[in-house]
Symmetry: C2
Subunit: 128 residues, 2 copies
C-alpha cells in the first residue's frame, strides 16, 4: 500500500527505528490526557484526512481506527507536532471511555507518585 | 551505575527495544501538554524520589534534569503509569517555557490539522 502522507509533513517527522511517532491524545473539553498511541505515516495521513483517530498497533502490526470495534471513537479537532518532530498532540472529542479497560483515561489505574495536595490535580485513585 | 528503581514499579514497565518509556508532561495548572520525553529506569527512579523531572536523552545517551542549565525546571506533583505500562503522565509545575525554543510548550510551533472552531482549544498559531 503506497503511503500518501503529504511529503511536507512526512519530511518533518523524526521516527523511531520502527518508523513510528508517539501520539498523545488529550480530551478537548476536560483537558485530560486520555492515552498515548503510535502512528506510522499512513495512520497520520488517515487521521489528518478523515479526523477519525487512526493508530498503528505495535503488537498486531496493523492500523486500527480507535473505537472501530468498541464504539469509543475519537473525533480529531486538532493535530500538532512537537519541536523535534517525534511526538504528536491530538485534541479530540472522546466517545465513552478512552481506555480498553473502560476507564475514562489509560492513566486512571496506576499512581506511581501521588500529589502532595489535591489543588489542580485529577481526583486521586489508589495504586492498584 | 546500579539501577535503583523499586522492583515493583520496574516489573510493570513495558520498555522500547532501547529500554525506555515515553513520558507525557502536563502543566498542573493550565492542563496544557508541555512536552514528551523519555525515561529509563534510573530517570524514573530519580524523578520519583526527588520530584525533579529527570529524563533520558536519546541523542546524548545520558540522563538530564529538566532545567538544569536553562533554569526551566519541572516540579513533579504526580506520576501515573498507563494501562499497558509503556507511558507515564507527569503533572508538573513548570518554571518558564517548557520548550528549548522558549515557547510555552513543545507543541506551540506546528499545527498539522487546525481546529474547525476555537471552542475549548488552545489559541491557534500559524503553521511554521
Amino acid at each position: 500500500m503506497p503511503v500518501s502522507l503529504d511529503p511536507s509533513v512526512a519530511d518533518r517527522l523524526k521516527r523511531t527505528a520502527d518508523g513510528l511517532v508517539c501520539a498523545v491524545v488529550q480530551d478537548r473539553t476536560s483537558g485530560k490526557v486520555l492515552m498515548v498511541a503510535w502512528m506510522d505515516d499512513e495512520a497520520l495521513h488517515r487521521t489528518l484526512t478523515t479526523r477519525r483517530a487512526t493508530y498503528y498497533s505495535r503488537s498486531r502490526q496493523q492500523l486500527w481506527v480507535k473505537g472501530e470495534t468498541s464504539g469509543h471513537t475519537q473525533y480529531v479537532h486538532e493535530v500538532r507536532l512537537d519541536c523535534d518532530g517525534d511526538a504528536l498532540l491530538l485534541r479530540v472529542d472522546q466517545v465513552g471511555g478512552a481506555c480498553h479497560t473502560g476507564d475514562e483515561t489509560c492513566f486512571d489505574a496506576t499512581t506511581l507518585l501521588a500529589a502532595q495536595d489535591h489543588a489542580g490535580g485529577q481526583p486521586m485513585s489508589p495504586v492498584r
